[in-house]
């Protein structure tokens, strides 16, 4: 009897995370959906005019902003991250491995405000000097986010690489391939789904990052034309104006949140699906 009670209690506890997920979705959607419908989805998603005080809520330039920053980050971080994972798995001497892992853990643990701050103090002047432009740019965002997201890509790629049976590598080496050829042609294809899942999760993390981005993105509401242009990603839009927003403006920010929420949920589901597809093979 007592055991039953305990089991019941525990199952309720276990449902809290699921429950809070629904609660979050419910409240964000409740606040955000009406305004999208009122403005009209076409205007909301495909207009670049964001003038909250004149009731114009178009978030296209912010969607483009988020996408361009994410692309930039992936272009920089995937080669670095997967490279780091390969290094850890196959080439690093023990000492280096013992050093690199805590380093990555700490990089992950450093608060995002600190990254943003370092970006403003160090990176922005550098970009101004060497590339021109205002400094606050897609490039600055991508570099800061690359450093932040690197540990995630490394750890997930490493897991995927280490899950490949050792015999694959040995077999390839025995056939006369160099170690690099074996890794490139045999190990990486075999670990592909795990790495892909990691990259997709990293993508979700990049899109959702706020504090570091708001400090280095420049936040202008305009379609970017080059990587040296300033952008306002979706998260920055929320954080920037939430403090001031009331009424419809606030609802529009929640609507921005709805877009963000949906995109990230989709990415999470895809990542799960991709990871699973690798396991069953």
């Amino acid at each position: 009897m007592k055991e039953r009670l305990i089991k019941g209690g525990l199952s309720i506890i276990a449902l809290t995370s699921l429950g809070s997920l629904f609660l979050i979705a419910f409240f964000i959607f409740k606040e955000g959906i009406p305004i999208i419908l009122r403005v009209g989805p076409d205007k909301f998603f495909f207009s670049t005019n964001w003038r909250p005080f004149e009731k114009e809520f178009g978030i296209l330039s912010m969607i483009v902003g988020s996408l361009s920053v994410t692309c930039g980050t992936l272009i920089l971080s995937v080669p670095l991250g997967v490279g780091c994972a390969i290094f850890l798995a196959f080439f690093a001497p023990t000492l280096m491995r013992q050093l690199l892992k805590p380093v990555l853990e700490l990089l992950f643990a450093i608060p995002s405000v600190v990254y943003g701050f370092m970006g403003v103090v160090i990176l922005i002047p550098l970009i101004q000097t060497y590339f021109g432009g205002p400094g606050y740019s897609i490039l600055a965002c991508s570099i800061v986010l690359t450093i932040m997201i690197l540990p995630v890509i490394v750890s997930l790629s490493l897991d995927a690489i280490q899950a490949v049976p050792r015999s694959y590598l040995e077999g390839a080496l025995a056939l006369g391939a160099t170690k690099w050829q074996a890794i490139w042609r045999v190990i990486l294809p075999a670990a592909r789904s795990g790495i892909n899942a990691g990259v997709i999760l990293a993508m979700a993390g990049t899109i959702g990052e706020t504090m570091a981005v708001i400090m280095v993105a420049g936040n202008s509401v305009k379609m970017p034309h080059s990587i040296l242009d300033a952008v306002r990603p979706l998260t920055a839009n929320i954080a920037l104006e939430m403090g001031y927003a009331t009424g419809e403006h606030q609802e529009a920010l929640f609507a921005t949140g709805v877009v963000l929420f949906i995109v990230i949920m989709i990415l999470n589901v895809i990542a799960r699906f991709v990871a699973k597809s690798g396991v069953s093979k």
């Binding site: 606040e31 959702g208 990052e209 504090m211 929320i238």
Partner: protein
């Protein structure tokens, strides 16, 4: 004409080494920069006095206190829920649809960016439940953030407890619950604690969601319904408003040191008991 495979390999290995050094260099640079710029302003007085002139002078005591306060509220909520869920998932059910639904929910919750959690916390805890900007609302919001993480690491720790121990306990006539409380949990404790400590690290560094839910009052929060400003938020405001760069660097130094201490503590704890785990580090669990 094709390049020689061994040459390519040498080139690529060189690239990998530079990536590794680059990564290490970045970390050393960030930590070094903040500590060199800030550490000289940090002393006991800075840590234990109240701020004056919006933080231009004086110390950071209220912010340290708020950080601890919000973190404790967060732990009081997320630890029982997280460990409870982990026990349920690993001890009370077999793998089935119910389990995978809960795991899926957990993964999704882990993926929600903190600004969205902040929006939710603002509209639900602050406005709807009328908590106002408060330690309670902030603590509840961050507890949602670290809950999936506590579940994950506890589950991993509980699963690492050898089955033989459970079987022995059950065969001696102990009930399932007794086995969990007396055998499984004590044995899994180091792993669970490691997860919790790393969760504390996440709380300490959190900014986006807390600005929207805990407010940014300069005062020492007395009751749980008072607004409080954490160290990370204080650093953000000092640096952004340009109130005082010296104090900003000093606050950042305190923040970085506490993050270092938290992570080293977790690392040591885990290292001590690492043999029980399949994986080499709890960290790698956290990221999934």
């Amino acid at each position: 004409m094709r390049a020689e495979p061994t040459k390519i390999q040498r080139l690529l290995i060189f690239f990998l080494w530079s990536v590794a050094f680059f990564t290490i260099g970045i970390l050393i640079f960030i930590i070094g920069y903040i500590l060199i710029k800030g550490l000289s302003y940090v002393d006991l007085k800075f840590l234990l006095t109240l701020p004056e002139k919006m933080g231009k002078e004086g110390g950071v005591w209220p912010f340290i206190f708020s950080t601890l306060y919000i973190t404790s509220v967060c732990l009081v909520i997320s630890v029982p829920l997280g460990v409870g869920t982990a026990i349920y998932l690993s001890e009370y059910t077999r793998e089935g649809w119910f389990n995978s639904v809960i795991r899926f929910g957990c993964d999704c919750l882990a993926g929600i960016p903190s600004i969205i959690l902040g929006l939710f916390g603002f509209i639900f805890f602050v406005i709807y439940l009328k908590m106002g900007w408060s330690v309670l609302a902030g603590g509840l919001t961050v507890s949602l953030m670290i809950l999936p993480f506590v579940i994950r690491s506890s589950e991993e720790a509980i699963r690492a407890v050898p089955c033989a121990l459970r079987e022995a306990s059950l065969s001696l006539g102990a009930s399932r619950w007794q086995t969990v409380m007396r055998i499984v949990l004590p044995n899994a404790l180091p792993g669970i604690l490691t997860g919790i400590i790393l969760g504390i690290g996440k709380c300490v560094g959190e900014t986006a969601s807390l600005i929207l839910t805990a407010g940014s009052s300069l005062r020492l929060p007395v009751s749980i319904f008072d607004s409080g400003r954490t160290l990370a938020i204080h650093f953000y405001i000092l640096a952004r408003e340009g109130i005082s760069m010296e104090k900003a660097y000093a606050t950042a130094a305190v923040l970085i040191i506490s993050i270092l201490v938290i992570n080293i503590a977790a690392y040591k704890l885990m290292h001590h008991f690492v043999k029980r785990y399949k994986r080499e580090s709890i960290f790698w669990i956290r990221l999934q």
